[in-house]
Symmetry: C2
Subunit: 163 residues, 2 copies
Amino acid sequence: MKVLGIDASLRGTGLAVIEQQGSRTRALHWEVVKIPAHVPHSGCLRQISERLAAVLAAHQPAAAAIEGGFYFKNAKVALVLGEVRGVAIAACAMAAVPVYEYSPRRAKQNITGWGAAPKEQVAKMVQSVLGLPTLPPADATDAFALALCHAQSGRGLLTGEPI
Amino acid sequence: MKVLGIDASLRGTGLAVIEQQGSRTRALHWEVVKIPAHVPHSGCLRQISERLAAVLAAHQPAAAAIEGGFYFKNAKVALVLGEVRGVAIAACAMAAVPVYEYSPRRAKQNITGWGAAPKEQVAKMVQSVLGLPTLPPADATDAFALALCHAQSGRGLLTGEPI
């Protein structure tokens, strides 16, 4: 089973595709959709949509995993993150790929055994579990952790159902 | 000049296309993307994206106008509205249509002269300005008001620039 993990962010969305076969899990693809400051807001959303469509078409994952259950300090941050999430969820829906939500805490706990694990620890576990030659870039780490969380649980733990 | 107005909402996005030629402004298209409660979240975003792509392709507007400068009572509402906005902005960007933001207050003030005008008053003015045979549906009224606001101001009054 192939799973796409999505760590949504306006200028640094992480995408990671893993494949689980029996007890073996390997990384098929990862990238960070880095968008420089001079690109306008709408151009960021367009690029994220295009990259997602390309990755979905290339890998045809059975499911996608995205962060959910956030705590926001302010609504402006929520609005912008919502924009990126909307683009990502719509891209998956258009490719008929179901999207499951996992809290950041749940994804970290799944891979490190500790929901408040620091990013470096998550990155090291991702590297180890997937046998990567180097540490994944920071923005791809969370995408891998989300994909692994879904591959190992098989369902969205926030809702149990795709969103 | 053709302008697309977008009133983003998960289950009732309003879309309206107007055309301004000299002193005359007419309505070319309006619809409400009504999505029943049984359709999952991701399906709503998919339908909104598809309807926007269809309307953009059919009418090829020079610009799109969307609400901005919201006040949110809670971040959950902001996240969901952000999702719909993101899908709408990305659809416009993929069609190379610049998106301008107007506050709801500014759009109402533009058409009625009063920023806190009730919805019925805005609907009557939209009907009158565009010479519509009947009152537009409630969810299309705001989309018309946004499109008219852009047609008459020619720029996004929140930022002055497309987003």
